[in-house]
């Protein structure tokens, strides 16, 4: 694994905007960064990333029935009691899931370490599945990359196949907060793939979802039978329409059971069940979240997105904290494992799953040890 500089494609920003990538630059800072790329060997990809991704996923799945069978664990994960039976039903009826992303610390040597699971509302999908893929094809065509260079990225193929086989009642509605440009880009990309899979895909702003006698409906009051929502389950359960989620005759993506695995409490549960697994870091429920964190620990809220509300003390005792809006749930503590540094940047690998299959990676860089929504996205290649 190494980082190599490469010339940017002339005019890539206009191209990006022509294909719906309107968030390539965030608040004046580059988000998509093609001034460099990462190179992996096929062995690194297959043995250190692809294989462990599927193994960690199976380990996480194995926790679902155990959590559902334990009131104590459900309470510890801060899952509201009125929803326990409904979540259990979504698991027992084997409601299929679409996708997820593991965040891994990996420097090319030794086992990748799981930092967290994004199993409910993962984003950076479009950048990974489409824009990174086009970058590789473009640079190969221009002769700027060695012939035979490949990429660990079957994300779009796998998503299309998944949509074609999920057997969803149509139309399938896709919903998110409509004025969030990044979320909407991700949802549009998924709708695009769904349409290519032959699905009647329709956008519905989250605030446009209606309710009649406990059934969620669209703007014409037509029942939502299939709903993809890029909006956290833990929010939906606690909002005005939360109670209608249970009564509504609607198939959700992700299914309700997925909320158990997007909870950071899954990290200590994984460590309890698979102690010393090479891809796991020691993790514990933080019973004293107000206490000062010792050197070598990271504190994360059970529910958090985009690096918010994370507190970190590195091995030298230096403290780093990101404020944010996720301060109203419990916390976990995870052993600090530094992200590898390439040049001036810290590098994180997002490893995708579609269904239960590993489907590719996207790389994020930040100037700090905490990866945030503003962290740059860089493409990668496989070359032996």
């Amino acid at each position: 694994m190494k980082k190599l500089r490469i010339a940017e494609r002339p005019g890539w920003r206009s191209y990006a905007e022509s294909v719906g990538f309107n968030f390539h630059t965030f608040d004046g800072e580059p988000y998509w960064d093609e001034s460099a790329y990462y190179q992996f060997s096929l062995q690194q990809i297959e043995q250190d990333l692809e294989g462990p991704t599927e193994e960690i996923h199976q380990m996480a799945l194995s926790l679902v029935p155990e959590i559902l069978a334990s009131e104590q664990l459900l309470q510890q994960l801060d899952v509201p009691a009125p929803y326990w039976d409904w979540i259990a039903a979504s698991w027992q009826s084997q409601q299929p899931h679409l996708y997820g992303r593991l965040d891994l610390a990996y420097d090319g040597n030794g086992p990748a370490k799981l930092l967290e699971l994004n199993y409910d509302t993962p984003t950076s999908l479009y950048e990974t599945g489409f824009f990174q893929w086009v970058w590789l094809e473009d640079q190969l065509m221009r002769g700027k990359l060695p012939a035979g260079a490949d990429q660990f990225n079957s994300l779009q193929d796998q998503l299309e196949h998944r949509f074609a086989t999920l057997n969803l009642l149509q139309p399938v509605y896709f919903s998110c907060v409509a004025d969030n440009i990044e979320d909407k880009g991700t949802v549009h990309y998924l709708m695009d793939i769904a349409m290519q899979a032959g699905i009647d895909a329709r956008f519905l702003g989250l605030d446009q979802i209606g309710e009649i006698n406990g059934q969620l409906v669209d703007t014409d009051n037509y029942p939502l039978q299939s709903l993809f929502k890029l909006y956290p389950w833990e929010f939906m359960l606690r909002e005005d329409f939360g109670t209608h989620l249970k009564s509504s005759n609607t198939r959700y993506l992700e299914p309700a059971w997925k909320m158990l695995l997007s909870n950071k409490g899954i990290l200590p549960l994984l460590w309890q069940k698979y102690p010393n697994h090479p891809n796991l870091l020691p993790a514990f429920f933080d019973t004293e979240p107000a206490a000062t964190l010792g050197a070598g620990w990271v504190r994360k809220p059970l529910y958090s997105r985009e690096g918010a509300n994370i507190e970190l003390v590195d091995l030298q005792g230096q403290r780093l904290q990101v404020d944010g809006p996720y301060n109203d749930s419990g916390f976990v503590r995870q052993a600090f494992h530094p992200l590898p540094k390439f040049g001036d940047s810290y590098t994180l690998i997002g490893s995708w799953l579609v269904g239960d299959s590993a489907a590719g990676i996207g790389i994020r860089e930040d100037n700090s040890l905490i990866t945030k929504d503003s962290s740059r996205f860089l493409p990668h290649i496989i070359l032996d």
Binding site: T186, H188, I212, N213, V217, Y222, Y231, R305, G324
Partner: protein
Amino acid sequence: MNKAVKRSKKAALVLMVPATGFFLASCSTEEPVPSAVYKNAEECAAFYNPPESCKAEFAKAEALHQQVAPKYQTQAECEADFGAGNCPEPAAPVPGQQQASSGGFFMPMMMGFLAGQMLNKSSSAKQSVPTQPLYKSKDDLSTFRTATNQPVARQTGPVSVMPSRMQVAPGKMASRGGFGAQAQRRSDQQSASSGG
């Protein structure tokens, strides 16, 4: 050497690229789907359909009638649209039972039903036509219409319909805006995506 490629074979976009004729035209390229209109289960059976299927589809339409029929506060308002004598008194709620969704409103009588895709089970249409009740309005008593006032047919028997116009919708006001508050509250604190 047959090395497996680790990337997608293609990564095309159809929706996110600039609008082309294909999507703008998609509404008008919708294929009509064969269905049928009958006054009741008996008429359906008289058209050489399996009597049991006819009864089942008619029952489905009757059940939907309570939910989708246009609803009025007064009989006069209802009859103004559907004609004198066509808007019966709402059934009194049975004590101890959950109130029917007609909820004391006046609704027009069901004049017939659209037999969905009963005759057409192998249809390759992407969007199906739901079985549903049909009505007739006062100013056009010869035309069967859906609860959302889409004309369907002027006589009973086989008919071709556009699936997108035949979707059923509850005939009642919906409440909206019950999702999104958490993201709003949190983005008031900082600019935050709901994804991650």
